[in-house]
């Protein structure tokens, strides 16, 4: 008998992995070529070489097929080397999100559809999205904590609340950006920068603050 806890890629698993890859590829090609609405799940299944029903063993619904397509790319975009020491909080965060903006700008309508579904959390268990969101949140949290550490953000900051708020602001900003053509990366990032700067500075009159 062979080892039991070795690379667990017996035939079964390998086929599943392969199938998932083919589904992702097929969906990506069709979505990019014809758009989300015009692409049928049957077409995806056919191109992936599987039956219609099989598709839904890998994907909860059509939206999730799109999520599959974006999955790896979003991860990669968020990975981006966190170069840039000695930058302001705003500049640093804008920088780390540049990759994401570039990715989204490539297919605005698809990205819009993809981004729209994220805020749901309905399907919190189905970890696919959760993980992605978690990574996104982690990037924000990281930059916030770093900025707090170096004294740029207030030391008594409720980090959790701040991160949630930033997350919300960024998501909606991305949404509006994608929804209003033309979708230009630099414009989006400029907007993001301005908004972040506003959040850092605060809406309140400086002299009144900290009453």
């Amino acid at each position: 008998m062979d080892r039991m806890a070795e690379p667990p890629l017996p035939r079964r698993e390998a086929k599943k992995e392969d199938k998932r890859r083919r589904i992702t590829a097929a969906a990506g090609e069709l979505f990019r070529a014809h758009g989300f609405e015009a692409t049928t799940t049957r077409a995806i299944a056919e191109r992936a070489g599987i039956a219609t029903g099989t598709l839904f063993l890998y994907v909860r619904d059509k939206d999730e097929a799109l999520a599959l397509v974006y999955g790896a790319d979003v991860d990669a975009a968020l990975q981006g080397i966190r170069r840039s020491r000695r930058r302001s909080f705003t500049a640093a965060l804008v920088d780390r999100l540049r990759g994401l903006f570039e990715l989204y700008a490539r297919h605005p309508e698809l990205s819009l559809r993809y981004v729209r579904r994220i805020p749901t959390f309905e399907d919190a268990e189905r970890s696919e999205h959760e993980a992605r969101n978690a990574r996104f949140v982690a990037v924000i949290r990281e930059e916030v904590e770093r900025a707090v550490a170096r004294g740029e953000l207030r030391s008594d900051l409720d980090v959790g609340l701040a991160v949630r708020t930033l997350f919300a602001v960024i998501r909606v900003l991305v949404f509006s950006w994608l929804a209003a053509p033309p979708v230009r990366v630099e414009a989006g990032l400029r907007d993001l920068g301005a908004t972040l700067a506003l959040l850092v500075a605060g809406l309140g009159e400086p002299t009144l603050r900290r009453a």
Copy 2:
């Protein structure tokens, strides 16, 4: 002959108005009783006493039927007397949105579905939503301007940017609130207050600000 620019309610218009009312009522009852997914457009049409096709002369799609249901109520909720002079910006805004929170809390799943569709702007022309959004934005803008006038918010504030940001934050906050039961009004408003306070104070270290 009778006057020509008088109350323009000839028979035709009256019937349409009546039909719209019946659709709204039917949709409301069914959605509230069985939920959004479980309610079919055919059932709505039948209960409203019209043909399936007719429904779609009054409503672009099923989502818009839900919007029809919420329409008047949201307007009413936002109308709310703007009592409360001498309150902080945060307190005042929370106060003016209380009615909306109460409305939303009544049927969280439906409200979630309703709120989700708002950010679209795709259908910007179809003014139904635009108008609603506009009213919502107007409330925010009003409070912001009032706060600027009395010196609570910074005088050099970019009001447009601030309003957009507040709009975004509130929308997402409402969304998360509705998505995570139990949906309690007070909890939601407390969260809103905390978030607004953070935005007013700013994320930045006070001593550094206005460098």
